[in-house]
Every structure is written in structure tokens, then in C-alpha cells.
């Protein structure tokens, strides 16, 4: 910010020098001396850090200017406004006192220099204010930028933590499943095969000596293997989850978690042929219920929530209803808007009612109307 002031000061000095030499004015030697003296003092001003020393230097510099104005050349007074601005800035924190001093000085000036003096002061004032203004703005933006960076960082951390946790949960679940499956393989397949093997070995030995007995053993093995095959098939069938199981279970889990975390009693019911709901729609339903429950927690002061999924003839009706304070004027925040957007993108409707507790009803068409879902 000071740079602009220094630059304009520099141009004023340049202007003085050019003017003096063009018009061949008197006292060039002392003129050069005082100009250099002034420059030295002002450079010193920017080098020292102490505020008191700075003010003293400025006062000294102003004294030089006044002396040279009176004894050497009246043009020197043109440099006075810059010192005054700096002085009032470090002592009063505002350039307006400087402006007042500048006006005060005009009373004592010769008429010949007055217009130039005023011009220089005003230009200085404008430049100074512009630079102060933009400097402050820059500071503010910089601070904002820092804050944003901080919040981005903390959010990033949060996400990272969550994904870690999710991974952990997933991995544990996988391990559990693997454990279960290997147990099942061991129970069903292992026993059957090892038993059959033994019987076949025995049959192989017996086949020449006692073929009747060997045949019986082989028949036994066939029966055991057939049973084994059957039980594996059943096991596979029961192990492989259906879409609706996955959907319902996911929602049940989420509802239970919510209930445990919030101390709000949640009941979850469903009816109708829920196997008609596609995987994609389960996702939309899940997200919507989650969002609606978050709203319940945030706004409702409810103690009880009912989550229901009804499959009607051509519609799936999903309702989240609480017994809380409700709302006469409904202001849609990000949550409700998200529910609406998701639902409407697959041809659904959202009915929001705050008259008796708060209820969010989502109606989704069973047959995908849009986007082929």
C-alpha cells in the first residue's frame, strides 16, 4: 500500500527537478543538497521500525521542507503533503487528519505555488485512499481464503475418517461372511466328500472279492452325494440374498442406528409386494428415508417416528411421519429439496405436510417412466 504513495512521491520529486532545470531557477546547488537530504531522510523513514523514531524523522523531514521552502525554493512545499499523510497515518491511523493539516498549510503559502500544491495534495489523497481501500479488501479476501482452506481441510479429514470407518465395517462384515461360508462348506461339502471317498476306497478293495457288497457301498455313496448336492443347492439359494432383502435390511439397519443414536422411537413397517421394487429405487428410497430422518432429528422435537413402505397397485408409497411439533410454514432446505429432486427425477411426487406432526410422503411409480429405470 505504501508503494503507491512512494511512487507518487517519486514522480513529484522528478517533477520538481525537471521544473527547476527547465526554468533554470536559482540556487541549484543548495536545491540539489536539500533534495538529496530529503530523499535520505525519507528512505531512513522506511528502514527504521520504531514508531516514535518514524514520527521524529517525518517531523524532521517536514522541517527540512519548510526551511527549504522559505530559504531555497518555494517548490519544495509540494513534497509536504506526502509527509503529512504518512505522519497522520502512523499517529492517528487515518489519512483525514493529514488532509486537515494540508488545508491548514494552504493559509501560509505563497499564491504562486498554491494551485500546484493543492493539485499534488489531492492526487496524493486519491492515490492513498485507493491503495488503502484495495489493501483492506485484499486482507479480507486473504482471511476468507484461509478460513475456507481450513474448513475444506477439516471436511476432507472427516470424509477420510468416515471412509476409513466404512471400509473397516465392510471388511469386518466380509470376514464374518467368509467365516460363515467356509463353515457351511466344511459342514455340507467336506463331510459328504470325505465320507464318500472312504466308501469308494472300500468298494474298490471289495469289488473283486465281494461285488454284491461293493455295489451296495457304491449305491450308498451315490445317495450320500445326491443328498449333499441337494443341501449345497439349498444352502446357495438361502445364502444369495434377494433385492428386497438387501433393500429392506439396509433400511432396517439405518433405522435402528438412527433410533439408537437419537433416542427417538422408530417403527418400520412395510406391506404389499415389495419384491417389485428395483434395486435402483431401493437406493432412492434409502436416501430419502435417511434425509427425512435427519430432518426429524434436527427440527421435529419428536419422540416417535413411523417409517412405512407400501407397495400399491402402481405406486410405491414411502412415508416418514413423526409426532413432533410440525410446521405451519414449511421452508424447504437442502434435505427436502434433495428428496424432491431424487424422487422427481424418476417420475415421483413428494407430499409434505406439517399440520399433524410432520410427514413426508414420497410416491414413486412402480413402472419406471423416465430414464428406463
Amino acid at each position: 500500500m505504501e508503494n503507491w504513495l512512494i511512487l507518487s512521491e517519486f514522480f513529484t520529486i522528478l517533477y520538481l527537478i525537471v521544473k527547476i532545470f527547465l526554468y533554470k531557477l536559482e540556487y541549484p546547488a543548495s536545491f540539489v543538497f536539500f533534495i538529496l537530504f530529503f530523499i535520505c531522510i525519507n528512505i531512513l523513514y522506511y528502514i527504521v521500525g520504531n514508531k516514535v523514531v518514524k514520527s521524529l524523522l517525518l517531523l524532521f523531514s517536514m522541517a527540512i521542507l519548510i526551511v527549504s521552502y522559505v530559504y531555497v525554493n518555494e517548490q519544495f512545499i509540494l513534497l509536504l503533503p506526502f509527509n503529512l499523510y504518512e505522519f497522520s497515518n502512523i499517529n492517528f491511523g487515518s489519512p483525514f487528519y493529514g488532509a486537515a493539516f494540508i488545508l491548514l498549510v494552504t493559509i501560509f503559502l505563497y499564491k504562486s505555488i498554491l494551485p500546484e500544491y493543492i493539485l499534488v495534495s489531492f492526487m496524493g489523497c486519491v492515490i492513498y485512499n485507493i491503495s488503502v481501500f484495495s489493501y483492506k479488501k485484499m486482507e479480507r479476501l486473504k482471511n476468507q481464503n484461509d478460513e475456507l482452506r481450513k474448513s475444506i481441510y477439516s471436511l476432507y479429514n472427516k470424509i477420510h475418517k468416515n471412509t476409513e470407518y466404512e471400509k473397516q465395517v465392510k471388511y469386518t462384515a466380509q470376514l464374518e461372511e467368509r467365516n460363515k461360508i467356509s463353515q457351511k462348506i466344511h459342514d455340507n461339502i467336506g463331510h459328504v466328500i470325505s465320507g464318500s471317498l472312504m466308501q469308494l476306497e472300500a468298494a474298490k478293495i471289495l469289488i473283486d472279492k465281494n461285488s454284491e457288497h461293493a455295489k451296495k457301498l457304491i449305491q450308498n455313496t451315490i445317495d450320500v452325494l445326491r443328498d449333499g448336492y441337494e443341501s449345497i443347492r439349498i444352502a446357495l439359494n438361502t445364502m444369495k440374498p434377494t433385492t428386497e432383502q438387501m433393500g429392506i435390511n439396509r433400511i432396517k439397519l439405518m433405522v435402528d442406528e438412527f433410533s439408537a443414536k437419537s433416542n427417538i422411537d422408530v417403527s418400520f413397517v412395510y406391506s404389499g409386494p415389495i419384491d417389485k421394487i428395483t434395486y435402483f429405487k431401493w437406493n432412492v428410497i434409502f436416501e430419502n428415508i435417511k434425509e427425512a430422518l435427519t430432518n426429524v432429528l434436527k427440527h421435529s422435537k419428536a419422540t416417535k417416528v413411523t417409517v412405512s413402505i407400501n407397495v400399491l397397485n402402481k405406486f410405491i408409497k414411502i412415508e416418514v411421519k413423526d409426532n413432533g411439533i410440525g410446521a405451519t410454514i414449511i421452508k424447504k432446505g437442502l434435505g427436502l429439496e434433495g428428496i424432491e429432486e431424487r424422487s422427481e427425477s424418476i417420475g415421483g411426487k413428494v407430499i409434505i405436510d406439517g399440520s399433524n406432526g410432520f410427514s413426508v410422503i414420497v410416491l414413486l411409480p412402480l413402472e419406471g417412466e423416465k430414464n428406463g429405470y
Binding site: N310, L312, N313, K314, F315, K317, E319, K321, I329, I330, K331, K332, K349, V350, I351, I352, D353, S359, I361, L363
Partner: protein
């Protein structure tokens, strides 16, 4: 031709969202019903179609013209029967209709003929000289209708025209709505009486909290919720009833027997009550009572929103 077309209409009153992203199309020649509880946004929608309210968002075309493009043309071709009776008690019935018709620019002989036709249409021609102050609620309503139709509008909007009137006048108004439709007018009819809308409307939108939650013919709307009718037949004794035989009747989906009531669930598309009764008579089983549960628009609204149309 699409008489009315609304795209993404949103209307707010301060913080309250009266209409929330509404899309709607009304074809020429339809009796279009707007059904919904009080405060659903029906009247707001109508006021917007008439150009009485500014909108916050969306596009509205009436007679395939943007509503702000030529409001005079649109207003000239709309007749509105407002919810609150708007007639002058101190002018005679004839003068009332005359006044409103002349607002639409009718003059001289044409005016006289139109006014007489309108009064005749609503059955008030012999009361033409009387003051509406002394009219019954139903007659006032009918006069209100006459005021709206004298200029033969292409689109007639009726906002709850049957509130607070006797059954006779109600029937008269419902009949006249049908007649007006046959004479070539498209009609928008709002009501929170489900029976009226079911009886006369060719297409229905169910509104709630500023949204259209379902649209279609009566049958389409009902089939959204269910595709079955339920019949309860009370008999003297259930001995000798063969469930399997009953299930063989076309359309029967399920049969349940509880004490002496037979519950038969059958498909809505099939008329099989005669065959069911025939089965009982052929077995000489006396029928004590038959109750049919046929889903209606009230059922639809109740299933979709969990609330009733009227409190």
C-alpha cells in the same frame, strides 16, 4: 388444442409456497376437475389462469397464448364463477347478468339475447325482475353462474360452485356444467366434494399442499392405488360353499370365509357380481346381505396422503 398449459408454475405468498412446481395440461372439450382439501392451492391456480395473480416462476399458456402476451383476449374468452358469490343484491337478476355481460363488451340486441339465454339456462328466467336479496343460496349461485356464461366463453372456470346450497340446486348446477360442456365449452371445476368431481369430470387432478399429486381419469386414479373390488356376502350358513369353485369365476382373485361372511376380492376390470350371486342361488344358499367396497377418489386420497379430503 390445449386450452390451458402450465409448466413449472411456482407461486409464493411470503414464506408460504402456495403452488409448488405445477405442470398441467387441459385439452379442449374437457371437464377438468381440481380436487383437493381446503388450502391445497386450487383457487390460487385458478386466479393465476385468469391472470389475477402474478407468478414467481413458470410458464402459463391459455388458448395457446402466453398469458402476459394478450391478457385481454384471454380474459374475454374466460368465464369465471368465483367461490364467493359476486352479484349485486340491489340490482335485479336481469340487470346483474346484463352488467357482467356488458363488461365483456356485449351490446344492444346481442346483449339482450345473451342475457335471456343465460337466465333461461340456469332456470331463473321467470325471476328475472326480482332482486337477488330475496333469493335462496342455490338461486344466488345459479345467478352467479349465469353472470359468468352470458358472453359464451370458451373456458368456464367454476371455483367450488356448490358450497352451501341445497341438493336440488346442486344437481341443477352439475347438470348445467355437463350441458355447457356439450355446447362446446371447456370447464375447469374445483371442489373438495369427491362425489361431484367423480360424477362429472372427464379428467381429474388431485392437489395437496400446492402440488398435483396424481392426475388422470377417475379409473386411472383408482387403479394407481388398487386393482380390486371387495364384496362381502353375508349368508345364513357357509356349509356347502366351495372356495375353489368360487375362485373359478372370472375375475375372482381371492376368497375368504369368516363365520357367515364370505369375502370375495375380484379384479376391478371384470363385472362378475351376477355370476357370484348365481353361484349362491344355484347352491340354494340364502343371501342375507351384500356389501360392496368399491374404491373411490376418497380412497385414493386417503391412501396417498393418509388424510381425508374433508375434516
Amino acid at each position: 388444442m390445449k386450452i390451458v398449459k402450465i409448466e413449472g408454475l411456482t407461486k409464493r405468498f411470503g414464506d408460504i409456497i402456495a403452488l409448488d412446481n405445477i405442470n398441467l395440461e387441459i385439452e379442449e372439450g374437457e371437464i377438468y376437475g381440481l380436487l383437493g382439501p381446503n388450502g391445497a392451492g386450487k383457487t390460487t391456480a385458478i386466479n393465476i389462469i385468469c391472470g389475477l395473480l402474478n407468478i414467481d416462476k413458470g410458464k402459463i399458456y391459455v388458448f395457446e397464448k402466453e398469458i402476459r402476451e394478450d391478457p385481454d383476449f384471454i380474459k374475454r374468452n374466460i368465464g369465471i364463477v368465483p367461490q364467493d358469490i359476486a352479484i349485486y343484491g340491489d340490482l335485479s337478476a336481469y340487470e346483474n347478468v346484463c352488467f357482467f355481460a356488458s363488461l365483456y363488451g356485449l351490446k344492444g340486441k346481442e346483449l339482450k339475447e345473451s342475457v335471456e339465454m343465460a337466465l333461461e339456462f340456469v332456470g331463473l328466467i321467470d325471476k328475472a325482475k326480482e332482486m337477488p336479496n330475496r333469493f335462496s343460496g342455490g338461486m344466488k349461485r345459479r345467478l352467479n353462474v349465469a353472470c359468468a356464461i352470458a358472453h359464451k366463453p370458451k373456458l368456464i372456470i367454476m371455483d367450488e360452485p356448490t358450497v352451501g346450497i341445497d341438493p336440488q340446486s346442486r344437481n341443477h348446477i352439475l347438470e348445467s356444467v355437463k350441458k355447457l360442456n356439450k355446447m362446446g365449452s371447456t370447464i375447469i371445476y374445483t371442489s373438495h366434494y369427491m362425489e361431484e368431481v367423480e360424477a362429472i369430470c372427464t379428467k381429474i387432478s388431485i392437489m395437496d399442499h400446492g402440488k398435483i399429486i396424481a392426475e388422470g381419469t377417475k379409473e386411472e386414479l383408482i387403479s394407481m392405488v388398487t386393482d380390486t373390488n371387495t364384496t362381502f356376502i353375508t349368508v345364513g350358513s357357509v356349509v356347502g360353499i366351495d372356495e375353489e369353485k368360487l375362485k373359478e369365476i372370472t375375475g375372482v382373485k381371492a376368497v375368504e370365509i369368516n363365520e357367515n361372511v364370505v369375502k370375495i376380492i375380484s379384479s376391478r376390470d371384470v363385472c362378475n357380481l351376477d355370476k357370484i350371486i348365481q353361484y349362491f342361488t344355484s347352491k340354494d344358499i340364502p343371501i342375507k346381505n351384500i356389501k360392496s367396497e368399491i374404491p373411490d377418489l376418497e380412497t385414493v386420497f386417503l391412501t396417498l396422503t393418509g388424510r381425508k379430503l374433508r375434516d
